[in-house]
Symmetry: D2
Subunit: 342 residues, 4 copies
Amino acid sequence: MGQIHRYTPARDDLAYTFGGRLPVAHLAPGDVLSTWTEDCFGGAVRTVDDLPSKVCEFPYLNPVTGPFFIEDAEPGDTLAVHFLAITPARNVGVSSTFPHFGALTSTHTTATLQPPLEERVWLYQLDPDAGTVRYRARTSDYVVDLPLDPMHGTVGVAPAGFEARTTITCDAHGGNMDTPELRAGATLYLGVNVHGALLALGDGHARQGHGEVSGVAVETAMHTTLAVELIKGAATPWPRIETDTAIMSIGCARPLEDAYRISQHDLVGWVGELTGLDTLDAYQLVSQAGEAPVGNVCDPNYTMLAKIDKTYLGGRTPYQNVHARLRQTPIPPPSQTGTGPS
Amino acid sequence: MGQIHRYTPARDDLAYTFGGRLPVAHLAPGDVLSTWTEDCFGGAVRTVDDLPSKVCEFPYLNPVTGPFFIEDAEPGDTLAVHFLAITPARNVGVSSTFPHFGALTSTHTTATLQPPLEERVWLYQLDPDAGTVRYRARTSDYVVDLPLDPMHGTVGVAPAGFEARTTITCDAHGGNMDTPELRAGATLYLGVNVHGALLALGDGHARQGHGEVSGVAVETAMHTTLAVELIKGAATPWPRIETDTAIMSIGCARPLEDAYRISQHDLVGWVGELTGLDTLDAYQLVSQAGEAPVGNVCDPNYTMLAKIDKTYLGGRTPYQNVHARLRQTPIPPPSQTGTGPS
Amino acid sequence: MGQIHRYTPARDDLAYTFGGRLPVAHLAPGDVLSTWTEDCFGGAVRTVDDLPSKVCEFPYLNPVTGPFFIEDAEPGDTLAVHFLAITPARNVGVSSTFPHFGALTSTHTTATLQPPLEERVWLYQLDPDAGTVRYRARTSDYVVDLPLDPMHGTVGVAPAGFEARTTITCDAHGGNMDTPELRAGATLYLGVNVHGALLALGDGHARQGHGEVSGVAVETAMHTTLAVELIKGAATPWPRIETDTAIMSIGCARPLEDAYRISQHDLVGWVGELTGLDTLDAYQLVSQAGEAPVGNVCDPNYTMLAKIDKTYLGGRTPYQNVHARLRQTPIPPPSQTGTGPS
Amino acid sequence: MGQIHRYTPARDDLAYTFGGRLPVAHLAPGDVLSTWTEDCFGGAVRTVDDLPSKVCEFPYLNPVTGPFFIEDAEPGDTLAVHFLAITPARNVGVSSTFPHFGALTSTHTTATLQPPLEERVWLYQLDPDAGTVRYRARTSDYVVDLPLDPMHGTVGVAPAGFEARTTITCDAHGGNMDTPELRAGATLYLGVNVHGALLALGDGHARQGHGEVSGVAVETAMHTTLAVELIKGAATPWPRIETDTAIMSIGCARPLEDAYRISQHDLVGWVGELTGLDTLDAYQLVSQAGEAPVGNVCDPNYTMLAKIDKTYLGGRTPYQNVHARLRQTPIPPPSQTGTGPS
């Protein structure tokens, strides 16, 4: 069993790209990290009068904690990041519309001559004991409780090709994938592109709908505990997720059908490897047994997942059974670092 | 309680368009129809050697049963089609690759210079008692049982604007939507575009994966029983589905993000009507509580659904509670018409 | 030399679909047709106060003249339509914005929650002698003359597969392609899908920009003279154009890159046939020598053309040199039918 | 008149990103730079047997020369880059297919299960005196001369938001736009995102077709002379080009219609500023008078241009008439640096 690291960033330690930053700490394979992430607004939206376009400043959006240098990680390896616990670090989550951002508005790329939608902020009471997120309408007294389902929207490593990419987008290196599948209990696999991998994470969501249609989930700071492992010599072209019951491939692209194609293509290949099926037989099995959860349909690249239940795979498990081993990692006692930087 | 109609088409009665055909029978609101549909290959694929491109001939693909004239239906009304039972009419389902068709191949519109994938047929044993669909690999002895989950891929009415549209595609009139949500117990709402609506259905699937990635599900003929109702003066711009637990809006378009936009846009408006929320408040609720099941990502128009659990809608139900009423319709005893035309 | 037909439709003779209509007249290969087409608004927009959404009624938009039955035309043949003359039938052209239509607005498929752009009408003085179309701003005194360049936005035949398609869209059967290349002097090739082909045309533009970005060109009624010819046994999968200097393939699809792919794919094959180059050599030649004029980026299907100068084809001409022969057709004296139906 | 700089990179000086690199030289506004760029293959493809996927290694593709620090350039300014001369530095250009790259093949994002197209190399003789590029088929004796039309496919500055982007793609910072409009005589305007702007350029094409359909143009090293100027306090959101006869806005995005939207949207705003037309009047003018040249339809982001003839703008010129002034810059005598690094 590895070492336990506790790391809480100061405000100036937050990063806004994957790649192009020096590491804030080193983790060894097998180590556990207990850390804190700020929300996508940098914590600046605290009341319904804090309009994001006023209180936030580009490019200081969607900060991530890290990057963490993973010892022994080299290009061609796969980094496994297992989420042991993701817990809201505040009792309020925030959401909003944002000018020319989201799926049901014109944007800077789907450019139209129409003015933006009204910018509006919503606050959600988070109740971890009840397991709820309370929606409260702004223009009526409508209130409804939704299930609390904490997750990280943004997790990734440094990209290949000397690139540094904004944390707003996602691609083969991970990043802003915004999938509810990235909750505690899941293992994320990321291909390593640079010496040390340079893992970073942020963008906690108390919950989100499929596609994050307005562009913004129930955003909050998070206390997160994860364990890392390294699969040497195993390349992973696109991010993948494993849970106790399913494996998933993630595609990031525009248009959305390309995100679908990437994810299904990767899953077909993966299922073929695990089952020994030839390509067309694996294609057929995925065609009938596969699912396609939507990640985001609002960021610069959209995200789709291709998912298949492990029961259809005849007992085969990927990556040398690392998910099952990481699943056994004891969760360390809570950090005493409080709610992050003041 | 309405009349019970039994209708089994002869081969020459099958239709290949929505619109442009005279009705085969009349149904009154409240009536029950017990009918039979042929599979998407016209029943021509019976062994693994029956390659669809050899045994099928364009445009005789994806036949539908109907159209049925709905009495009193006029443009501006909504037709409710409640599926009481969908039962495979054969004990074998068929699937295949098809040249330049499907999501992981170039197609006639995503045109490339590459040759098509190998054409291959799979047969599935259907076991209604066990509730399974048996996948059997073609190039290995891999076998796995998947849940039987019968549905109709293609249900629609005549389109607006004097159009007749191939049953291969989908649009505002319904058609080849290929969503697993269209199973027994669901009510489909379709806007009426022409006098008599002209409902038709086909393309039974013993089950399908999300997006129907290979382009073909587990195809089979179906015995199907449905009840129809009419909501006068209620327009429905895009197809919608209601189940006991959820409401759903359907978008059909390319690129896939437009199918997503249409469906989410319609659901936002619908949720606003049901809850009294203003547009942005409804947008926000759907953003956090909504789901986005994928229909097809292989047909000329792609299909996505926007779905929300009824528990978040404060007890409001749409369309004058017609789903709950139709849900009470007794299922008539099985038709004696056997397995359809010989 | 064939017969000369003169045909002017009454208002009720106008059609709103390709397919699904009986022919208004018969033409034999070699015949010349002198006819009249109404503008896309059905002539209802006459002043800047005639807002299209008020004075026009769906589906009575984009009327076409025809269809014309082409004798001897059978599926698998190619119809050649050579435009001898296209002359504005009015001295005023009209344009407008239209709610949720055009490339720089959200639409019914690229659906957003934003209100539509202001609806506004522009009138253009057409001066055939000067060869100009006069733009006049609505909110300032800005005036500028643009070149008169008359063309037909919409020309097509009945589609395959028993379909009838609205004249608003385009596809393999032609239709609303909106390319400035369809001017006098050009020959349009259309694959025949049904007995008699059923040619129809309309949507005259005094001129248009590339992509018809606002969704509406300088619309006007047209006096048009064309000659038809038939190439028996030659299939044409997508519309093609030939001029004295170039050949062009047309693709209609969404997203726009698929329209590009279709058109370039067809041109690569066509160049290969004409030059004897193998597929990759033809691909390479088109890659360096080809052009890609944009048709429309506003209709239900977008249009792109792939074009190559004939000088790069080593003197080969397509379709048995029919363009050169049709080019010799004498233009009959002007019709005495005036400006169309009153 | 500014200083004349001559800079020829050594092989190790070449860059593979915009952003993330230290400058190789400083230029002051008004200065002239005479430099050399390597071809997109790093010069490694010299015979038809040098298959790019064998002789090139990711990420050492599409090298650029630079970056050049522009004195006084700060975020919010606009950098004007006027191309005085672009001359092939070799007498042979190379092109190829490349596995899973190009518009008429599946790619890593438009992922299919099909194998890649055959990889094949073509060599073109460049004859500057005759002004020709000689195409020679690989599988026949077909030869044809195309016009020499030298241009740079890739020109850009460091992106905003701390990003470093591969030279393979394009975005608001410029990059791999692949438009034939970027030839000698043109002025490129780029918004400055970082202190010093950090201009770099490469990817010379002896010529290319519209959309660069195969993914590769007639690639060659270039001797290039350019002059730089700075427009302080003028923001430029997307790259723009000015020539003696036209102004153009450039959009980079997927799907292709978004590249179209961005470019047309920017041009509408730009025309409005220059002419005083309100937004809808400018939209209308661009709709009827605008052109839409295609850049690339093969790179990670596609490129489209929106173009309008200056004669329709009533004599107004943008950016304080800097294009006309730069146009007067004398071209310095040729560099003595030969054909670049040995």
